[in-house]
């Protein structure tokens, strides 16, 4: 089950849906909003998502995980809207008979979710600036791999980094 929500994510309630008498292992991941990124002090994040495709692509990712590893249940919930430091932006939970499968599937799901779901985040910094966060895959190509090179900053003040290398993982 892939869900998009503007409400607070409640991992404890969500994990209950993965319970199964045949489950011996439960691995989960939560992405929390960090107070820093790339040397900048972050005060708030805004998530923009295109929910219909997030859901269908998310379901596809969960199905891939189920076909690759012998797991019992796998769910993912992603938030959109405005989030504060410490808030949970994404939750992934996987239950299985044995732990190896739960760990691998959980990691696969969060990695794919971050690369494939149409979600974008804009960081708001302590100094009043803001900037869209660059994607993980591009970040891994190093600082010169900049998607939006030459693109005039639409709402940024002078000196604002338009794309940040990475944010909350």
């Amino acid at each position: 089950m892939m869900l998009m929500t503007e409400e607070r994510i409640l991992p404890d309630e969500l994990s209950r849906e993965l319970r199964d008498p045949a489950a011996g292992a439960y691995a989960s991941f939560e992405g929390w909003i960090r107070n820093h990124n790339d040397g900048m002090s972050v005060v708030r994040l805004e998530y923009e998502a295109y929910a219909p495709l997030c859901r269908s692509e998310g379901e596809r990712i969960l199905e891939e995980a189920r076909s690759r590893w012998k797991i019992l249940h796998a769910h993912c919930v992603h938030r959109s809207g405005s989030l504060e430091i410490g808030d949970c932006a994404v939750w992934v939970g996987v239950s299985s008979a044995h732990r190896d499968e739960a760990f691998h599937a959980c990691r696969y799901i969060i990695d794919q979710v971050k690369q494939r779901l149409p979600i974008w985040k804009k960081e708001h910094y302590a100094n009043g600036d803001s900037g869209w966060v660059n994607c993980e895959r591009c970040a891994s190509h190093g600082p010169h791999y900049d998607h939006a090179q030459g693109l005039p900053p639409p709402d940024a003040k002078a000196g604002t980094p338009l794309h940040k290398r990475r944010t909350a993982d």
């Binding site: 923009e48 979600i119 660059n134």
Partner: protein
């Protein structure tokens, strides 16, 4: 041949365009051609391959054909989680 398409812009593209979408006429044969034609709107100078495109709520390749009545979504590089 001219066809009518609805285009939607997201995140960085939306902010640059100043609008979240528009309906327009285009003779672009592919999603890539349409993206190139609308460069002044979304503002991206990078290759389309770094971005994503969906037609009628399906993620498609950039060489996918654009047909009359299609809704085309242009996604800048994603950064979920």
């Amino acid at each position: 041949m001219k066809k009518q398409v609805t285009v939607r812009y997201f995140a960085l593209f939306r902010e640059h365009a100043g609008i979240s979408g528009e309906t327009l006429e285009s003779d672009a044969d592919s999603a890539a051609a349409l993206f190139a034609q609308l460069k002044h709107r979304h503002g991206s100078t990078e290759p389309a391959s770094h971005c994503k495109v969906a037609i009628n709520d399906q993620l498609v390749d950039w060489d996918a054909p654009v047909r009359d009545g299609d809704v085309v979504l242009f996604f800048p590089p994603v950064a979920g989680g």
